[in-house]
Symmetry: C3
Subunit: 363 residues, 3 copies
Amino acid sequence: MAEKNNRLVDISWKEFDKLGPNERAPYFNDNGRVFHALLAQQFDRPALDRLCDLATNIRKIAKSKEGMQFLQSLLNHKRVMFYFTQPSSRTYLSFCAACKILGMAAADVRDAATSSEMKGESQEDSVRTFSSYFDMIVMRSKTSGLAEKMAWVLANSERPIPIINAGSAQDQHPTQALLDVYTLERSFEHLGGVDGKSILFVGDLKRGRTVRSLSILLTKFREVTQFFVAPKRFQLKPDSQKILKEAGVTFELSGNFERYVPKADAIYMTRVQDEWDKKPGQSRKSDIVKYHFKVRHLRLLRPHAILMHPFPRREEIEVDVDHDPRAMYWRQMRNGMWVRVALIATIFQCDTEVLAYYRKHLG
Amino acid sequence: MAEKNNRLVDISWKEFDKLGPNERAPYFNDNGRVFHALLAQQFDRPALDRLCDLATNIRKIAKSKEGMQFLQSLLNHKRVMFYFTQPSSRTYLSFCAACKILGMAAADVRDAATSSEMKGESQEDSVRTFSSYFDMIVMRSKTSGLAEKMAWVLANSERPIPIINAGSAQDQHPTQALLDVYTLERSFEHLGGVDGKSILFVGDLKRGRTVRSLSILLTKFREVTQFFVAPKRFQLKPDSQKILKEAGVTFELSGNFERYVPKADAIYMTRVQDEWDKKPGQSRKSDIVKYHFKVRHLRLLRPHAILMHPFPRREEIEVDVDHDPRAMYWRQMRNGMWVRVALIATIFQCDTEVLAYYRKHLG
Amino acid sequence: MAEKNNRLVDISWKEFDKLGPNERAPYFNDNGRVFHALLAQQFDRPALDRLCDLATNIRKIAKSKEGMQFLQSLLNHKRVMFYFTQPSSRTYLSFCAACKILGMAAADVRDAATSSEMKGESQEDSVRTFSSYFDMIVMRSKTSGLAEKMAWVLANSERPIPIINAGSAQDQHPTQALLDVYTLERSFEHLGGVDGKSILFVGDLKRGRTVRSLSILLTKFREVTQFFVAPKRFQLKPDSQKILKEAGVTFELSGNFERYVPKADAIYMTRVQDEWDKKPGQSRKSDIVKYHFKVRHLRLLRPHAILMHPFPRREEIEVDVDHDPRAMYWRQMRNGMWVRVALIATIFQCDTEVLAYYRKHLG
């Protein structure tokens, strides 16, 4: 049983509900300990550095059968619940793989039709039910703020287990942001890391929660410039711009894709999030094709720069670009598994055990 | 491979089909050994006492990582099949968790659309298929008596594996009854146990299979009084009343909720089972709100009494009641996992191994 | 990580796409090593013999808890992905069981609605995603040749993991053919094996992919005669007949069921594959009932002959036939699990380890 080690017991729901993400973030760890993973904001720079290092150690340990069996021994006494009421395959599968690497047994509810919600149960009761049988909940939802609300509910119950937000509405997708940061860190390992780099975001920046979460995390690094290139209707929302301004970050908005490609150390392509369209086909009107990365753009790309995409991809990146060594999106995807392993290991405080194994066998 | 250790081979389907639940019950164990878990009737008092004791031992063993790893070693060579063609999350998830605690690998068929039934296979063939690959079947169905029929089919096949009934139509939900009994036993541990207590059932007593199963199990205890409070159209069915009469049990039917609250040692609240309505909305006509447990009822409740609910809950119990220490329904839910572990351990005859471990490490 | 040990990197998609199954088959192994399992054609006689022997050894090892734990230790560092977009329960469950016997962790995508395909992702990207998190893909699809295409895609990616075809359109179901061969081998173990036997196929031979795959595999044995009995509209397709002719196999087509029953060493019954009907009910016109195996046919069946069925069964075999010792279809089904364990062990090159264990403990 987890101890009551998060600060959410000290605040009423009414008060908590009024807080913005920045004010909420500190409630999700306790004296620097990561308990839940709900908002990109909650991770400070030292926490990000620790996670990236841990992910790299885990990745190397996992290369041998013995290493994999060590990792599986860490949490083989724990059970995880996947509560995914919004369609997902990539995030779901990478969490599945991550939990299995740590030996956790998993169960899932992915379809409201097979669940008790049909019988009129409240979501609070559903989540408390999951906490009765499982030691952690990974949840993805169409409802903004639901994971944070459930963390509050559990904190005030007898079984305050950790919750990981695997994507909520249009607002956040913090583990995606963690894997993006890890990909940037790995790629610029010999170039001084993320500090001082220029990141170009392209596509549907208005509704893409991966952009929002990564953009926030990048404010934790020194002198990172952020470029946002999109058709006007898909440009970054004012609230996201406000976060950047308050953090004193240099950023530019533009509609001119080709002008910004040569300026970037990393380009983060995104698809049009048309599942949020109010009318079907509404997004198709946009002349989005101008914002696609074609083979011909490769010559504009700096030699050390990398090309990223959170996937799924449609036509944002031409398939033939895949063969270029600067196409980092497939490795980025696999990084997602490793950083999730690292995150879960951190939540359950196995990090020191992992580091000890690494030093002994691979250090 | 399980031996042919159940008596179902000695009787033809035609004869078996004619038997009532009481007459069928003895066929599901062999010289006191629990083989299937299909009907509440099949558990006698010593079997119930053994199960409750085992559940408590397992619960304590599971508190340490070493204990959990011991439990997982018990059945890590066995595979379980979840065959749930009726929606469920709580029962499904608690069985998932229970099987994983014992190290069993699981697979499931929860949606007829993904299965071969679409291709016109008989249910007998489907269940025999499951028995070809798995060592136990946990099934939930809308069809009355299906689990018992399938137990008979398998007993007369080459792979007579155990079946657990995880809820069948309106008739039975035996593992729910087991967890209810375990909850009562735990709660009255220092008050002489279940014997001599008064249990008040409230709600849709006509169609609630949890009420039916628990009511039957309570007849195995000494001098338990049963009260049934419901609007007339939801009162206990004559056949259930008949079972109580034949068992010589003291029971009362009433429509007056508030009069009975102060008389009970345990109150068992249930929701309206409107999924069985012939016309949608049919149940809504009932003035069921009079039978809801509100915060103001807490002062009527005896100090040592407990409040139970099989869940899902709608409005039968006001949420603010949750904070009262007599609200036992969340612990009741978690008890469900432990009693299911105990049941499966019993079916696979690991109970002595568990007790030996307990005595050595925790006794 | 799997090495780039398959020949698919040496050929462009354009060239590969033009090849027929016989020409493709050699690409799926490397110097006799089974890497993917995609087409019946790829298995030569020595490979079949090795698989059958391995399946038997595994089956015997699995009888003890220690043996089962040994098997689970072989691949407990590997993860498998089930990608089943066509309904299946038998094949799915037997693969689940097989993977769990080898200790593999599994995840699945069975319903396109819960996956990213909804978001417009290409199947190539989906499969590359799976390969990012998993070590093997088992796939079933309505699209002819999809598994082979995906094997080519992965071979030309950074993570060329093995693919097993668990049924593709009307064309192939190679692991079903392997289990059918294993069933024949086991049944004729003391009668000289499959060589020299006569196999009678009955039913929908036109659209049944199990018939097609088994018929091809039988050409690898010496002097096997193949009889095909069906109504004209369901007779074996010309391309399948052509394969038999080219292999120099003796075969006969007929519409007369009762004349052929006494000639067969094995009868392979199949159901009408009406899910491929262009108009609903189209197949029902056929006078297929003449091709059903009834209890009265048992007296026509040779004493040593066996009766097989790939299941699901409708009315092709009367249920009362099940009790005859020559009814081999239930054992055939369970053989499917063992041969799949053997296949996966072969793909991951655990076969020598299994044989060593067998010799030491059971030889």
